[in-house]
């Protein structure tokens, strides 16, 4: 059952991504001011959404672990944070490529860029800490604490954007005030968000399975040593 779901979701993600890439590159016209490079937004923005949501969900599962001491939740938290970190990296790299073309520099110390980089660093630290601890329950407990500190900090970091002068283009989606995208362009963004979300879920599920197997190996090893 779980396998079928996983394969189905992978197929859905692959189909959607192919279709979206076809539309993004061959159907959509160039943007008036930015030319061809604006297409990068179709990956840049969904990646940011998924990364930030993922860090929040990671905190949720870390809390769930602390309340229940069930290592399964720790495995989910790890998988979610790992995948979110990849999407945060995608967001930073695509943003950087866009900035090189439009702003003329690879990096600008704008508040939103800085915030995303800080989030990336915080959760990279989370994964580094996980590698540094051998004992599974200690690892789960301490990394849950780091995840909670990190997620609380992300909110404060992100809030400071409001008080910083920013050169980042304003919000482009219509759900926020002052949206600046044509409806046809925006719909494709949500389709791509869906495709990437499906991909993210597949990746998290694969990581969860690996975490489960490694827990099993670990307990078998302990059993073998106890004889």
């Amino acid at each position: 059952m779980r396998n079928k779901f996983l394969y189905g979701l992978s197929a859905l993600s692959a189909l959607l991504l192919t279709w979206n890439i076809y539309k993004i590159f061959l159907v959509m016209p160039d943007e008036l001011n930015q030319g061809a490079i604006w297409r990068i937004f179709y990956f840049h923005v969904p990646a940011a959404m998924l990364a930030m949501t993922g860090f929040g969900i990671g905190m949720g599962f870390s809390l769930a672990y602390l309340f229940t001491s069930n290592l399964r939740y720790d495995g989910i938290a790890e998988g979610v944070v790992e995948v979110s970190l990849v999407f945060a990296a995608v967001n930073l790299v695509t943003g950087s490529i866009w900035a090189r073309i439009i702003w003329g520099v690879w990096w600008a110390w704008d508040a939103r860029l800085t915030s995303m980089l800080v989030c990336w660093l915080i959760f990279a630290g989370y994964l580094m800490l996980r590698r540094a601890i051998e004992e599974p329950t200690q690892r789960a407990r301490l990394s849950a604490v780091v995840s909670i500190f990190g997620a609380v900090d992300v909110v404060i970091v992100w809030k400071s954007i409001e008080w910083f002068r920013t050169i980042h283009p304003g919000p482009v989606l219509s759900v926020r005030q002052g949206g600046g995208m044509a409806p046809g362009m925006e719909a494709l963004m949500y389709w791509n968000l869906l495709a990437l979300l499906a991909l993210a879920i597949v990746l998290v599920m694969v990581r969860m399975r690996q975490a489960g197997v490694s827990r099993e190996i670990d307990s078998l090893r302990r059993l073998a040593h106890s004889y």
Binding site: G125, A132, F149, V152, D153, I156, V157, S160, W163
Partner: protein
């Protein structure tokens, strides 16, 4: 009495803080290393930038806080590592003192040590780089105290968290510095303003709020989490 548990908590915290300060002041391990380190960084700055230009004063807050955080990590690293010898940490955890009182006690001791180091660094900074820090002295001390409390709260929790790791000395700064960024940003901006003679109020008031909010939020999170970190 209704307030008895509070008094007990405070007394336990102060006992821990007094113990930490006493053992630090007798050996002066972290204090000496940290003071020497901050002086070295202060000298290094003179090569990184031309200290005679006016532009230097625009960076003064940033320089000071870099010294404070780098030197502070040395003290914070020792905070819980000191308890590893003779299994003192196990004894502390087994004692009737709750983890939150242990945390507050350790944090107060660290705050005191860091403030001493920072004050000496500030004097050295003013001496070497011709900075007049007395124009807004009380506000400056307040900002330094609030910023240091942010550093102390996060640092003390993570000092406890990393105490049993092999790579303790490396993990602590890697985890602590990114988390501290909002507080450091606020403290740096305010310190630069105050060293330039601009009082707190108007435009920079928002950073004071950020600093206070950071302190309050993370003190609460730390108090809630300390039991999990130490005991499980």
């Amino acid at each position: 009495m209704l307030l008895d548990p509070l008094f007990l908590f405070l007394r336990q915290s102060f006992t821990i803080a007094a113990k930490d300060l006493r053992s630090e002041l007798r050996t002066k391990e972290a204090l000496n290393a940290s003071l020497a380190f901050s002086l070295v960084i202060l000298v290094l700055f003179s090569f990184a930038f031309d200290p005679s230009t006016d532009q230097f004063h625009d960076f003064s807050g940033g320089f000071l806080w870099l010294v404070f955080t780098f030197a502070g990590t040395l003290v914070l690293n020792r905070s819980f590592a000191r308890e590893l010898q003779n299994d003192c940490l196990d004894a502390l955890v087994a004692s009737p003192v709750p983890a939150s009182a242990l945390f507050i006690g350790k944090a107060l001791a660290n705050l005191f040590l860091l403030m001493v180091i920072e004050f000496v660094s500030l004097l050295a900074f003013a001496f070497f780089y011709d900075v007049n820090w007395t124009r807004q002295a009380w506000s400056l001390l307040l900002v330094i105290a609030l910023g240091t409390w942010a550093l102390t709260v996060i640092g003390t929790v993570f000092s406890a968290l990393t105490v049993n790791l092999r790579l303790r000395e490396l993990m602590l700064p890697t985890l602590v510095y990114p988390l501290l960024i909002p507080a450091l940003m606020a403290a740096i901006l305010l310190t630069t303003d105050l060293l330039g003679g601009t009082p707190i109020g108007g435009e920079n008031l928002i950073w004071m709020k950020v600093l206070v909010a950071f302190d309050v939020i993370f003190t609460a999170v730390a108090l809630a989490m300390m039991d999990t970190v130490l005991v499980g």
